[in-house]
């Protein structure tokens, strides 16, 4: 990639903060704010999955961490009365900690075995949420208040969402800023020493271990960063819907996070973002097709895959020398 990182971030920020709101304003499609907020949050979670792909693991368990993150934030807000904006990083950290405990044994698995264990993990998270008293079991946690004001020495940094005229827009802005930050961080990781080491894991784990790479540490590190992203995405969703249920994130979500990465392209940092946009937005756009919606949607998915098996970004247009095997 020839474009310098800061420039890329600025362009991305301009697009999501100026161009998109302008387009929405012109077209009057206010409902797209929520759809795009979802895309932003889901693509954060997908970015995490992409990072685990980067160390050569198929992760179909991100739904577990989005659920844990959602519950962590909901419990901290409702039971301890904490400010949502503080619970957001905490939810991520809790997920990261849990993922270290779980990751240490299961990251030894590879290929489909790891994929399947993570798939089971999502179901484990759902059943645990149903069984525990702190999560309020089947009844879920409802009536979670809107994010409140975050101030620092009396200066308001983030206003109280409850008093805003248009909380939809506020959620949108918060989500896209988080998304840009996450992808900038991801880009930084991939193009650092850590990223090179991760690539060595993806290609041949034994070989990289034999030349002195601490593979176990690297794997757990990447996995916990991935889960952190899942956690904050989940927490944000919960604050939008103001409720969380054991079924808020399920196996389907985990599978979708993975599909987003495939569709966008596993070799490209922005792949999961584009994949989420196409998969999630595509479904919404096809809503007028009524009962044929799923048929057309899946046909297009299959055709896309047959046409571009390496993801959307593998189109020659985007593919500037980043060819890898």
């Amino acid at each position: 990639m020839n474009i310098k990182k800061p420039l890329l971030v600025i362009v991305l920020l301009l697009v999501v903060l100026v161009l998109v709101p302008w387009l929405i304003h012109v077209s009057g499609r206010w409902d797209f704010y929520y759809t795009l907020t979802s895309v932003a949050l889901l693509s954060i979670a997908s970015a995490g999955v992409w990072l685990t792909f980067y160390i050569g693991r198929i992760n179909i368990g991100q739904g577990a961490y989005t659920l844990i993150g959602g519950y962590a934030s909901a419990i901290l807000v409702t039971k301890l009365g904490m400010n949502f904006w503080l619970t957001l990083p905490l939810a991520g950290l809790i997920c990261a900690l849990i993922s270290i405990v779980i990751g240490l044994p299961i990251l030894r698995l590879r290929g489909v075995y790891f994929a399947m264990v993570t798939l089971v993990l999502t179901e484990v998270a759902r059943l645990t949420a149903l069984a525990l008293p702190i999560t309020n079991g089947a009844k879920g946690i409802v009536n979670i208040p809107m994010p409140t004001e975050l101030s620092f020495f009396g200066i308001t940094i983030i206003p109280d969402f409850g008093t805003l005229e248009n909380p939809k827009l506020a959620f949108y802005i918060a989500s896209v800023i988080m998304m840009v930050l996450c992808y900038a961080a991801l880009y930084r990781i991939v193009n650092s020493r850590l990223g090179h080491l991760c690539r060595s894991l993806q290609q041949n784990e034994e070989l990289s271990a034999s030349i002195g790479v601490n593979t176990a540490y690297l794997r757990v590190l990447a996995y916990s960063i991935s889960s952190f992203m899942g956690g904050i995405a989940g927490a944000s969703f919960v604050s939008i819907s103001q409720s969380v249920y054991p079924s808020s994130f399920q196996v389907v979500d985990s599978v979708n996070f993975m599909l987003n990465c495939f569709l966008g392209g596993l070799g490209f940092v922005l792949g999961p973002m584009l994949g989420t946009l196409v998969l999630y937005f595509g479904w919404d756009l096809l809503f007028t097709l009524g009962k044929y919606q799923l048929l057309i949607y899946s046909s297009m998915l299959i055709l896309l895959m047959v046409w571009l098996p390496n993801g959307l970004l593998s189109l020659k247009l985007f593919n500037r020398g980043a060819k890898k095997k």
Binding site: D31, T35, A138, K139, K168, F237, Y245, L289, L294, S299
Partner: protein
Amino acid sequence: MNKRLFLKTAIAGILSVGLFSGVALAANETLKIGFVGVTSGPAAAWGISNQRSMETRAAWINETGGYKIGDKTYDIEIVAFDDQKDPKRAIAGMEKMAQEGIHYVVGPNVDDGAAAVRPVAEQNGIMYFPYAFPKSLYEAPASNAVLGMVANYQSGPAIYKYMKDEKGVKKVAFVAANESDPLSQRTGGVAAAKALGLEVVSDSVTYQVDTTDFTPVLLPVVRSKPDLLVLSGVSPANAPQLIRSARELGYTGLISTETAQDALVLKEGAGDLANGFISVGGASTPEIATDMMREFVERYTKMFGEYNDESNTKVYALEYILETLKADPAGITDAAAFKKIMDTFEAPNPYMKGDAVLKYVGMSSFGQKRQVAVPLVVNVYKDGAFETLFVAEVD
């Protein structure tokens, strides 16, 4: 080949779009009513029966010249959104309804979806009619949700009391799927049974919704020897299998549920073993159905090829919305006017014989009138059809 496949799909796509945009132009103004629910995946049956009842009724109204509200006549258009039983999608669906300028939405079908759409509905002045039971949706400060059917904590006690008095039931066992809705319903059911002085012999057995063999699930339940086995919040797909397994294990007592079922599904899935199964239904049993109900079933069958008995409970929400709007036409653009008229609204029930009325209830359960008054019709299955066991009312 790929190109050809692509072409074919493209043509199919264009054709279907063409079909949809080719809806006849009508002289009447259009009144859009929304539906947000699940019409694909495992729980598709719930949403589809729901959406189809609405579409049947709308087509019927439009065919007979439209619906008169105030001094205008409207054609009814149903705008449906498939939320795939995902609360995140349900929010998107509600946003879409707001975008379309819709103020009245039927759905979502499950607890988590109904809770998730609440902020959007309240911000956009949308009244919605979920088929979910949590009381927090209908109690103040929530005010935009109206329960579209009888909740299990209302029907359960009535059914158990009937069983206790008429059938001499003393011991009850509960089985539920390990999902939010059925588990919440089980908790409610157990409380109701205990309040009536019944002995609850088993209330901890759960199953995964994807279970293909219920014999191991039911073995410990049947061994606890209940007189009545309650299938809490059972989905129509699981009910026949559970009944069959219980009977095959030698269980001879009564079996009941508080959800709506379909007679054909029971017949195909359990055959004669389903005889005596008690469930909650609408008003289509011959004893109480009016000519209008019969015509509805007829039209539904003609339109979609096959009737679904679950629709009996789902025919009401649209009727309530339209009748209430008729009572105060200001409601068409303003949900506040709708809420105001809800307290005093009353109209005859066109689907049930007798002097039943459409009105809003819920004072005793929610402290405000946020539930449609539908008759609590308890059915018993017999040889491929339902018979009315008894009819009760909810306040």
